[in-house]
């Protein structure tokens, strides 16, 4: 027979009962205390018994705190019925609260975002940054909307990039937008051909993207309209900062050839200083803009072959007479029509 538990074991069990969440205790309290007793038995006759006990105790307290936090998060997720982690919701709230604190009285919605559920659902998702933090530096920003895709169930998981083909159809069939641009903010690439090679973040965009955001060229020109993706011309527009950094502000940059991941592009323009690309507060600042058609070669993203290729976002300006709710209904109807016409899209959502 084992001796009655020693004081250290009884103390450990007592603390465990008070600190650990009930689920954990029900499942594992007995084996945990047994294992602790085994560990203390091992220290019999050794001088490090107290040190081992203290280590076990601190491990117990840390574990209990972690398990409680996890349980708190699980409860939050169950209560909200959404997929988001509680931590993420709390973080959003903190960002929003800080923004409101900084800009009390600022109630204008700078930009709204419209989620287009292609083959799935349609709902709205909000850009807390734009709504709460700062007014967006774009003309008619209160009529701009970002179009993204949402994964079912509705209202829980928006903001995904969408299919180029679906967005193109939306552009042709909608009755709500003055203009619809497409963009694909991509990772950094190697920019060579300048003073010193560097990594720059790329945004692939259609020509009207610049007009919607009110971007003007500081030097040269911006992109010309392309109706489809089949006639790519290798041109690049540099951000003002990238031009300063990589070319030292050289005035003869327009017409120069640069290599982006080894692909030659002709610099046709430099943006005005102070232009801020969409979403730049959350990611690396865009250094170079390329025509959307170049996503195929440079990023190996084949946008046109199938509707399940979802890499692109839309940026649209609402017609003056159209409300966001009306635009959402319009987009929802088109989305439902596309879902009917292309039922296979739904089966392979993100490939």
């Amino acid at each position: 027979m084992r001796e009655p538990p020693r004081f250290s074991v009884r103390l450990f069990a007592w603390i465990a009962r008070r600190l650990l969440p009930e689920d954990f205790r029900r499942q594992l309290e007995a084996p945990l205390v047994d294992a602790f007793e085994d560990r203390m038995d091992e220290t019999k006759g050794r001088a490090d018994g107290a040190a081992v006990f203290l280590r076990e105790l601190s491990s117990l307290i840390a574990t209990a705190a972690r398990e409680r936090w996890r349980e708190f998060g699980d409860a939050g997720r169950r209560a909200s019925g959404e997929k988001f982690m509680l931590a993420s919701v709390l973080s959003d709230l903190r960002i929003g609260a800080r923004g409101l604190q900084r800009r009390q009285g600022f109630g204008i919605v700078g930009i709204t975002a419209l989620a287009l559920g292609i083959g799935l659902n349609t709902a709205l998702f909000g850009l807390a940054d734009s709504v709460f933090l700062r007014p967006l530096p774009y003309p008619e920003a209160d009529r701009l909307t970002v179009i993204s895709m949402e994964l079912a169930p509705a209202g829980t998981d928006g903001g995904f990039s969408a299919s180029y083909l679906d967005l193109r159809d939306l552009g042709e069939e909608n009755r709500s937008f003055d203009a619809l641009a497409l963009f694909l903010d991509w990772q950094s690439v190697n920019l060579a051909g300048s003073e010193s090679p560097e990594r720059v973040a790329v945004n692939f965009a259609t020509a009207n993207y610049f007009a919607l955001l009110g971007f003007e060229p500081f030097l040269g020109r911006l992109f010309r309209e392309e109706s489809r993706l089949e006639t790519p011309h290798p041109v690049a527009v540099l951000s003002h900062a990238a031009w300063q950094r990589s070319f030292g502000g050289a005035a003869d940059v327009v017409g120069q050839r640069v290599l982006l991941n080894g692909w030659p592009f002709e610099v046709v323009g430099v943006l005005s200083p102070g232009t801020s690309d969409l979403g730049e507060r959350f990611r690396e600042k865009t250094g170079v803009y390329l025509p959307l058609s170049w996503a195929r070669s440079l990023a190996q993203l084949d946008l046109e072959s199938r509707r399940s290729a979802r890499y692109v976002y839309g940026l649209a300006r609402l017609r003056p007479s159209v409300s966001l709710a009306e635009a959402r209904r319009d987009a929802g109807e088109i989305s439902a029509r596309l879902e009917k016409s292309y039922p296979d899209t739904k089966k392979s959502p993100l490939n």
């Binding site: 084992r2 945990l32 047994d34 294992a35 085994d38 560990r39 076990e56 601190s58 491990s59 574990t63």
Partner: protein, 111 residues
Amino acid sequence: MAPHVFEILLSLSAGERHGYELVRDIRERTGGVVDLGTSTLYAAIRRLLQEGWVEEAGEKPEARSSGPPRRYYRITPLGREAARLEVWRLEAAFKSARSLLGQNRAKGALR
């Protein structure tokens, strides 16, 4: 995968063990580098049970002590696969690190 979770899976891949046997085995195998507290161990076991990487293998008397029977655990095929994937990832990381450090040494950056 957290190192202690990987060690637990490795220990169990050699056979069924109860909680403190795992602590002892991991400590001996790693030369004392990984010395788990029993609470950390059981928090990990709880997670592994939930993930289906480990399952309970019943209670058996403990050979080395006269105490109550101990609850044993065994690795599941899913857990074995997870451990294999982790080995694969570590091998890739190891190769990449060795190649990078080797390159640097060639340039004289590391001696």
